[in-house]
Amino acid sequence: MSYQPLTTPYYSSRRQSGWNRNQNTVAFASSIKLGPISHTILIALMVTIIGLVYLTQATMTTSYDYEAQKFDNQIAELETKNADLKVDNARLTALEKVQSSNVAKNMTTPVSTEYAR
């Protein structure tokens, strides 16, 4: 394996510039050159992408809202049904209903009562 020298156009050694401790001594510059039109197109593209990302996120949030609303409606409906069932249950177990039931009608009074002591 042979040693490959650096091909960077701007190379400065420690001796060539005022070198200080902990300072980078090598600078790189891209060989690709972009003109003003390319810059403009790139910026426009970036703005478009960022805009699209924003729109996607906003739309997603809104779609979650609709989803949440659907669940809220379901919860409300189930709560209403639950409340209706509670009302039915309360009516069916009301004292008057229980007392007029066949079970209650068939009950008899004990002749005598003994108490455990």
Binding site: T61, T62, Y66, A83, K86, A90, L95
Partner: protein, 580 residues
């Protein structure tokens, strides 16, 4: 004059300048709209997009006890009001056929007339339809037929304990009873939702001004009222009134070990579900807490307790009784004559002798007259210790304190205090008398009466209400034991065979004349009976009152049988074991 050279502009330059001019105009306009008028337009947009919604809190439910289990007395139900826009109805007969078959009992009269009023845009066809009924009708998709949700209070036990419960008026405000007393706790707190909405009103989370404060539902309150005891008390009272032809009656049942009210019934009453049909607003008042009256001879138990506690009498200590006794310029006489000579205070209580009670009042003084000291002592016991003439603090609307005249007032002389020893000359409520009677038979502790057992938490568990502070030593334990026994003797002297054998039952009759235009009317009397029952200790106190305009009702013959019915039933219900 030299002509200035006109520099012609090229067409692109003209267009460029025109475009610049247009852009400047646009820029100015945009600056005006977006900067100067920003706040106005932001407000307009917010008004259009952001909708404040109220999240209604659910009104708390009210429960009674069934033994140790809470059971609902008042619950909420979403009901529907069905309306129609007659101007767009196409086939009225088809609509009427459907709604009659689905919700016949909830419809308005004259349906044909209502639905044919083409000039009207809104006619109510039915009220209080259930969700199922509404859905069945909705599924037919009739043009012009609509439904409006309403939350209604429903009463699965019908009118049970109506005057204890109270009702909720059209504005959602609790009136009378528990609904009135606890309105602020039952009503809860509405929540707020402020959010950007889409055109159909669906709240969206976009925007930075959203507010979402959840509703706080009202408390679910559990009463000490036991629905079985309440139902039996109402039944026994109704039967008692039928038997005696009395028009008004009241019953209160209290546990003397803690002051918990097990039943509280008045007749006539009303059904809270149909409070609008009540003939008079008087029916909304619970007479047991709101209608002070002269309690009559029931109070003799308190006079005897005072004498025993002060150590001036014993049950078997004797005094010389006469049929009449003179206090200042007034002569007080007994209803039952002939019990004269050397008799015991037990006999005086058994025969309900006014003269015996006046004698005790004299003994509280110098023995010869009802001195200021005697009156102060009686006032201390009656007002400060037994709570007569004071609010008991029971959790029901419109409680009245009653009236008791202190010895320092102009009318607080010996005559008044002699009358007070046998229950005249003061106005008390039944709840005052019954709750302080508990202290006579429970060892001398006054428990403030309560109708609140606790609350239900979110999981439906009963959380007990904080206990009210009892007043210890209203009378001594010794005095309580003695008066307890005397009250038992007073009942067994005349009504022994009415009770189930082997139990400790006691009671005292009361027959009070009614004060009409400033003078007592012997032909219109209020009959009361105040007693207790139990096995090794008093487990219940029952007070009964019957009255009627122009009727002479007696404690012993008219009120006492109602007490007996309830007492004998309670012995079985509470599974009390006979002694011995």
């Amino acid at each position: 004059m030299p002509q200035l050279p006109f520099k012609e502009m090229s067409r692109p330059a003209i267009i460029r300048w025109l475009l610049i001019a247009v852009m400047v105009v646009f820029g100015i306009r945009l600056f005006y709209l977006q900067v100067i008028k920003h706040a106005d337009y932001a407000e307009m947009a917010a008004a259009e997009q952001i909708k404040p919604l109220t999240i209604p809190a659910k009104r708390g439910l009210i429960y009674a006890m069934d033994g140790s289990t809470p059971v609902p007395l008042v619950i909420n139900q979403t009901l529907y009001t069905m309306f129609v826009d007659p101007s767009i109805v196409k086939d009225p007969s088809k609509i009427l056929d459907t709604i009659r078959s689905v919700a016949g009992g909830n419809l308005q009269p004259n349906l044909e007339s209502l639905i044919s009023r083409k000039e009207s845009r809104y006619q109510i066809l039915g009220k209080n339809l259930t969700r199922r009924q509404a859905e069945m009708i909705k599924s037919k998709n009739y043009a012009g037929l609509g439904f409006q949700e309403v939350t209604a209070r429903v009463y699965p036990e019908a009118g049970l304990a109506g005057q204890v419960l109270g009702f909720v008026n059209g504005d959602g405000v609790g009136q009378y009873g528990v609904e009135g007393y606890f309105n602020s706790q039952l009503v809860g707190k509405d929540g707020r939702l402020k959010s950007v909405t889409d055109p159909s009103g669906v709240p969206l989370t976009i925007g930075d001004k959203n507010v979402n404060i959840p509703a706080v539902d009202g408390d679910d309150i559990v009463l000490t009222i036991d629905r079985n005891v309440q139902a039996f008390a109402e039944k026994a009272l109704a039967e008692g009134l039928k038997r005696t032809k009395a028009t008004n009656g009241s019953v209160v049942v209290i546990d003397p070990r803690n002051g918990k009210v097990m039943a509280m019934a008045n007749l006539p009453t009303y059904n809270p579900a149909e409070f609008g049909k009540a003939q008079s607003a008087d029916l909304f008042n619970n007479a047991i807490v709101s209608a002070p009256y002269e309690p009559g001879s029931d109070i003799k138990t308190f006079t005897v307790a005072t004498g025993l506690d002060k150590g001036i009498i014993e049950p078997d200590s004797r005094y010389n009784n006469t049929d009449y006794i003179k206090i200042e310029d007034r002569t007080i006489q007994n209803f039952t004559k002939g019990q004269t000579g050397d008799i015991t205070y037990q006999t005086a209580l058994n025969y309900s002798l006014n003269t015996g009670m006046v004698t005790i009042a004299k003994l509280l003084g110098d023995g010869n007259s009802i001195t200021k000291g005697a009156r102060d002592t009686l006032y201390d016991y009656f007002h400060n210790r037994f709570g007569f003439g004071k609010l008991t603090g029971i959790e029901l609307s419109n409680e009245q304190p009653g009236i008791i005249i202190s010895p320092s007032q102009r009318d607080g002389g010996a005559v008044r205090y002699s009358n007070m020893t046998f229950g005249q000359g003061m106005d008390l409520t039944m709840i005052q008398v019954a709750s302080s009677f508990c202290s006579l038979v429970n060892g001398g502790t006054y428990y403030p009466p309560t109708v609140v057992e606790g609350k239900l938490d979110k999981d439906g568990n009963l959380v007990a209400a904080p206990k009210k502070t009892p007043k210890l030593g209203v009378i001594s334990k010794t005095a309580s034991d003695k008066v307890h026994k005397m009250i038992h003797e007073a009942r067994t002297a005349f009504f022994a065979n009415r009770d189930k054998p082997g139990y400790d039952i006691g009671g005292k009759t009361g027959t009070s004349q009614t004060l009409i235009n400033g003078s007592y009317d012997n032909d219109q009397t209020v009959g009361t009976y105040l007693g207790y029952g139990g096995d090794t200790e008093a487990k219940y106190v029952i007070m009964v009152e019957v009255s009627g305009k122009g009727m002479g009702l007696q404690g012993g013959t008219d009120a006492m049988p109602i007490f007996t019915d309830i007492s004998n039933w309670l012995i079985d219900y509470l599974k009390l074991q006979p002694k011995g």
